[in-house]
Symmetry: D3
Subunit: 317 residues, 6 copies
């Protein structure tokens, strides 16, 4: 809250940039919130253009346009309020520390932070960082029970190794698939050539994963797509911003044309929230150095997260 001797205006551009202007909680052993946001500013293992370590701060900055309030957010299309601060407690837990050049230590920090957040009962919401951060995020979810993964992305992220490296931003889904508590994955928005090999796709298909391109989903209809999600199960939703069409996200390392539109991703997320219990969310690959002056990509990330948190909480109201 800003200092004022008048009726507060509290515009988005003002004040300290925590996520949605929510209170800060950096003691994860004493976290009391329904939703807990953590930055994971790590791009140590990015294959292409770096910069996603600057994503959490940019997303927080953009998110201040969506300040939490007692009333919540009125949506005229649904004629309903979402995310009332009276009902839902959001906390910003700051960032997991990254150690330059030390991927193992950095992943440790993310993994342990996520585990503490999940243990507290809060919904962990992680702001990447490149997509490799989903590796420690998924490791940190080892206590929540088996879950499915809804993976929105242009790329399958199933590459086995890069050079001799096994941990990088092109392989989180293969690494998740190796975890015993990760059930089916729904890879949505996958398109374009060359990011993975046929054998990668075959490996994913062979374990029962669903892989759908934007065109395939449009042909099915969005309701049919979300009907694929089993009811009543747990879901970890990992959103690579490049699942959106390239024109929506210039500020990412590997944008891809022919991608998902805003309303389409919202339909997927609303469907996910309705299908079961979302036990973790991350949004990765926002790379501010390539974003436009207007901050379109960070704004897209903040809008997507706020809408998704609205859908998730509404499903529980």
């Amino acid at each position: 809250m800003n200092f004022t001797v008048h009726t507060p205006a509290d515009m988005g551009l003002t004040g300290i940039a925590t996520f949605a202007k929510s209170p800060l909680c950096t003691d994860l052993t004493n976290l009391q919130a329904d939703i807990a946001v953590l930055g994971a500013p790590c791009d140590i293992a990015v294959q292409g253009k770096p910069g996603a370590r600057m994503g959490p701060r940019a997303i927080r900055d953009a998110s201040t346009g969506f300040r939490m309030s007692e009333d919540g957010f009125y949506d005229p299309e649904r004629d309903d309020y979402f995310l009332s601060a009276r009902r839902w407690k959001l906390a910003d837990c700051g960032d997991a520390d990254y150690v330059p050049g030390d991927l193992a230590a950095t992943f440790d920090n993310i993994e342990n932070a996520v585990r503490l957040m999940a243990r507290s009962g809060a919904l962990p919401v992680v702001l990447g960082g490149d997509h490799s951060v989903s590796i420690p995020v998924s490791r940190g979810l080892d206590e929540v029970g088996d879950f499915n993964v809804i993976h929105i992305d242009a790329h399958l992220d199933w590459t086995s190794h890069c050079g001799d490296a096994l941990l990088f931003n092109g392989c989180p889904c293969r690494r998740m698939a190796e975890l015993p508590y990760v059930k089916r994955m729904f890879h949505l928005g996958i398109r374009g050539t060359g990011s993975s090999k046929k054998s990668d796709y075959d490996d994913a298909r062979s374990r029962g994963d669903v892989i759908l391109s934007p065109k395939a989903m449009r042909a099915m209809g969005w309701d049919q797509v979300t009907a694929l999600f089993p009811r009543g199960e747990k879901y970890y939703v990992t959103i690579d911003i490049d699942g959106f069409d390239a024109v929506l996200c210039p500020g990412t390392g590997a944008p891809s044309f022919g991608g998902l539109l805003f309303d389409e991703v919202m339909a997927l997320l609303e469907g996910a929230a309705a299908a079961g219990q979302v036990i973790a969310v991350d949004l990765v690959e926002v790379a501010p150095p390539y974003d436009d002056r207007s901050g379109t990509t960070a704004h897209l990330a903040a809008t997507t997260l706020m809408n998704f948190l609205g859908y998730i909480t509404k499903a529980q109201e």
Copy 2:
């Protein structure tokens, strides 16, 4: 016209940047034109990111790619010429003066300029400025008779006050609604959460206004939407550039995803021109500091205005 001793090429990038390279008329008491363009470079009362005061110059700059000529503009899709300079006289009236920090004086200047333009018989076309400039524009239209408002925007702009302020860029529609000569308003493109409260929407709905989101209009069909406009009445058309989808207008203060596409806005504007008499136009919230290098937003504004002026004049030919 440029200096030449050869056949003129008169490329868009050359010459003094008046709107569409039209002649300058700064004596509004002696205005003789069919269409009169005025800059309203005011962003004193913007709630968020400022910069719209630089909009008029950027739009004029972009508009020089649409130089008025004797033949007019040939549209291959309609197989017809538009806006022949032989038939239609366009004048650029320069800018209404803004006074730093003095909203009242600045609004006075806009209001009086618009009144003089309207009184002359010309169609006033105002280049914002933030959306608060529609407050003095609407005041300056007090002599033209009762009119409807077609309001293209992402936001309802119906907030009652901000802090204790009553004049800012989030409230022009509420302020217009308080004018006795403003009839129904059609709020088109409205979407997203949080920019107005439910009670704001209810107030608008209770006076008979139409509020439609992009999705709702797509479901209706554009002909059905424009069929809602009463025939033969007067229309003030106020276009907030953020009614367009965010990817079309990075250069605005509050871009919003899931918005209107170019062809969709053109359909609305062509429908408006066909429905009745357009008695004033403004296009607001172009904020060049956030635009991309290519000037996409200013170019969109200039294209939109030139097309709309084509539709308006064609309806009268």
Copy 3:
């Protein structure tokens, strides 16, 4: 290939930026390749915003994300590999020299280079430069036999003269139409007002050319559009990047709203590859000074070319 003592990673950002990291061949009299890429960095005769001379280098830079490999590129949507380096030999022939202010010499260089490339049996792929480079490209194709032209563009490019000049980026199609071996042209994506006169359109129509706007093509359906291409004939495909919608190509001199989307252009190009023999390709009007930080336009150009080369070669496999 990079220097390494380990398993190569060979990321896109590394190494010398030839097109798709293909080998360099600057002796056109000794060219042995299936596909030969030539830069034509000429914007001497651009009517509007210059900068397309910097297009070839930017497109090459972007193309390194699509490194040719033995396996080729796996497309999960088609479940097929494309452009295997085992089967298809790609060579980068460097640039045709431009001479400042000397359009004739510059065009000579392009024309002669294209003739040598075509004579070698390789498919010439020319990176513009502004659209005037299609004039020397088409001249250099005088030995390949009569061919049709598929012209993807926002503009008809049929202006007869500008000032007294006859060679500029608004007239390549008129100049091609004057060549005896150029048969029908398909002008696809044409839209907007003012870039050509009615008489220009009438001239094109009178020789049997097809002129279709994005809206008209959407109404027809893409299969119907590509069914218009005669089977078994030869095609020169000239792609002005501004045929795409303006939001996809900020880095061009004359972007135009309401344009073609990515999947739509891909449908046209796949249809062209299936219809007959593509004997030359150019992609023009990428102007990097206006592109966004992310290089969206250059990336679009590289993606479009790589996909198109995939379609062309797949049709021959």
Copy 4:
């Protein structure tokens, strides 16, 4: 502090962006700090290019590269540590609320915040906002006793009115001169033509103010300049970032060539700290929308403030 299970790295890019990563204190009636930072994100009354309302957040973001620590900052040139967190307590007080279009309310908020900060015994450090914010800052200093003003700027800021307005960013020094407790002002860095009239300069000179251009100061020598500051008196130091040469501050509304260099301003500030008691500091006119990609101007602001706070505290150690 970031979450970590390892030795902290705590890089500048991480964590919530308070000033120098200092603790947040938004209850000004209970402020316990030696130095208190307040954002004044107001550019309502800027004469030229707006955007300084976005200054506080950009400066805070840049300042995180200067994280306060127990040891403080080691300066190899002086072989000394500065600003140890063991000795000096810094607090970030957030922002004074701005009310869109309501200059009076906004100024009230700034004035009252500064008064409370000064009353607490902390040194108020205000981040502008445009230079008009120095008007309420100086009003809020009414309880600290008479003080001199060291004013670093390209412009005299002594304009009497603009239009009929009396409060705007070109007049703070005239407004300060009207306060009974403001003694001599030292206007340093003043240069260029046209920003004030001769009569403005004469008014300033007539009250005994010192006005020196960069060239004049270079001719005098920096020691001679700072020797002009009376010893043992109180000083309010107001730094308009455009006092620096234009190449150092692209991100400001009215950059001016021929300005002060970095080392020169440091010499002035070190001299000011040595001369007497600094009772308030502001740094204004950082306008991020015009800054370069690297954030040079915000970085300059943060560096300047951290160095100055080092000089001020060192003088008291």
Copy 5:
């Protein structure tokens, strides 16, 4: 002048962007002014990065911050007013037409415009365009009598040919040297390697030209440099913006490090104005596509010209 019903503020950002907001005169046969500004938006023959055709509009835009007024511009360092509109009449003559790809026609237009301006008795001030525009400018000065040239630049611009071309932006000084009425040239600011050959320098030296690097001039002292200019003769002053150090002019095609500083160029220009009669001025190579967001280079150009016009007119008062 803007429309107002109050005391005018007339801020720089408002109104139609003529040079210094001066009146427009496009009939050069009826020009009545002391100083006449002409845009020469030609970069057809630029060797490197194009974009200088967009220079005139950017310089005009920046120049509106220096609006001509009755009183003129007060310079506190000289305690004097400059460029009073009461005494000096400035006119903006618009642009010389450029014809795409047709250098001869474009040069004709510039040459003839300059001749008419000079014939009218006004001082021609030409805004480039690349440096090749100085070729037609110098041709158009054939009626003013023999004159010296003061040439501020990083490069000698004495290349004999490029490819086989004789007219391009690297040769204007060689072309001027071939004109019978061009006397000595003073090439000031020349530095760096590779832009001309030793024989080019020898040719210039052999005709008595003075060639001085920034370092050489600093060693001499600026008074000694300007003392080289013969008294009472005529001077054509051609300023390539890249004579300034690269950090001052990112927006140019061939910036060069180690260049002249702002105060240094002002010293040269003040010396030139004092030495004799300035009969023409041009300022070239401002290329806005490469300028920073703040418009530093265009601002530098406008400031340089306004100051120089002040020195020129002051020498005649």
Copy 6:
């Protein structure tokens, strides 16, 4: 060389972007050149803003403005030619492979490449990458005999560890000091607070290293500084671009104000070349994502390297 049927113009913007348009040699076991350029696109271990992995390509791109030629580069200030291609053979060896997230493998590749280059008798010139790449560079120089280090930088780069990491871009000089064949280091340009601790400086001083700030060197005079370099010894020169003043290098991760000017660094480099045998050069920390549109930082890097190579070779002619 470009394709041409006319006299070549071979402008810098054309052709494949190898360093200075030199021939490519990627077989390091068969390297025959006097000077060999290697890219080291690694920023895996950067502490702050990433992006230096994109440095090599940007520097190469900028370097094409300095095309090697038979005559070499004429310097009018020294009246001498430099770097004639007749005398000096330059080769571009491409890049050392980086492996995402795998610092050890990446360093191996750099180290081995440098060793092979040095073994061949060529002067290795390495393009970073962040400053951590100097660690493998210095390791790869283990066969050239003992050498001194001239280290131009804003920062001492002597931090012992970051988190628990020992390899990152803040420690290369400490790591070099641990190598038995590294003699004295001259740390030039060091300034600012907080990048290293007093104990780091003390460690460097205790081994006899020279640490000089820009101010200290200016006070000494540049000849006195370079006189400190022992005659006839070997030198590895490592240039962190941020040794230059921040205004010269926006495109770097940690720019610092009050830094070295262009002519000053040239004086140091010319002095280094004169003092003894330069056995390796690197230039690091060019981070293109933060560079300005004009590419100032990459241009500075290319200019610095070309000048330095000129000084080195001239000392041997």
